[in-house]
Amino acid sequence: MIELPIQQLIFLFLAALAVFAAFNVILQRNPIYSALSLIITMCALAGTFLLLEAQFVAAMQVIVYAGAVMVLFVFVIMLLNVRTEEARQDRVKYLKLVTPLLFVALLAEVFFVARSVTTTPAPLVTPAGEHPFGTVEAIGEAMFSSYLFPFEATSVLILMAMVGALVLARKRTAQEAETLGKIIEDANQPSLAPASPVSELEENKHELAA
């Protein structure tokens, strides 16, 4: 029996959990089970981040990823009625046959590269006067001094994404639907216009007016 240090045992456990849950993500047909498995994978990865002495990133992984982003996913899955999708027949059959081959090929390739890496970790040395590696202080100092511009650019990106998500996901009002229908009518023959969701909204509007 090979004697393994406790850190390696913890890593192996977390890695096995992450890989098992990741396989569950891609093999489940119901997206809600995939989402829950993905949360397990992310929590296991947060554990490996702790092993790598990235405490703050591990906390962010759990709060932002497993918390906020996955709650958004679960919320959308619950909002849309996805149960009918399970019974649907797949039209593209060949992908299911090709995927295992591609999977094994890509895995072999990356493992070959990873095997050639023989670095073993050096113990961490914190120079005097600097914050310890991976703490909030060390990261915050770097983020607000040398990496200030990427940080600000990210905030602009998030603002744009927020506005974009609001514009994309809202329902069209009856007035907007009318203008859109007019545009479509102007562009096409009157008999061809307008498309189904617009006409539905217009019908609703007529019902409301009646």
Binding site: A35, V57, V82, E85, L95, V110, F111, G134, P150, L157
Partner: protein, 100 residues
Amino acid sequence: MVPLSWYLALSAALFTIGVAGVLVQRNVISIFMCIELMLNSVNLTLIAFSRFLNQSTGQLFVFIVMAVAAAEAAVGLAIIISVFRNRETLSVDEESLLKL
């Protein structure tokens, strides 16, 4: 201590599983989750290298990747909702046209 190659192997395995998931799954939400899986595996690589090079730059990269992933999830799910509203389906095989 855990060797660097172990972390790289785990990251590679997760990334490959994510790629396989994008090919196998036909549900657009599941495909989206596989993309998140790939982003996570790359985060693991960045953190591992940042630890082994003893520089916190990799951890900052991970923060930016997380922010971009959150923005991407918000916009992507909004697109999925609006497509579902028009098409009543989530299968990528059915959604082959951009117009209604």
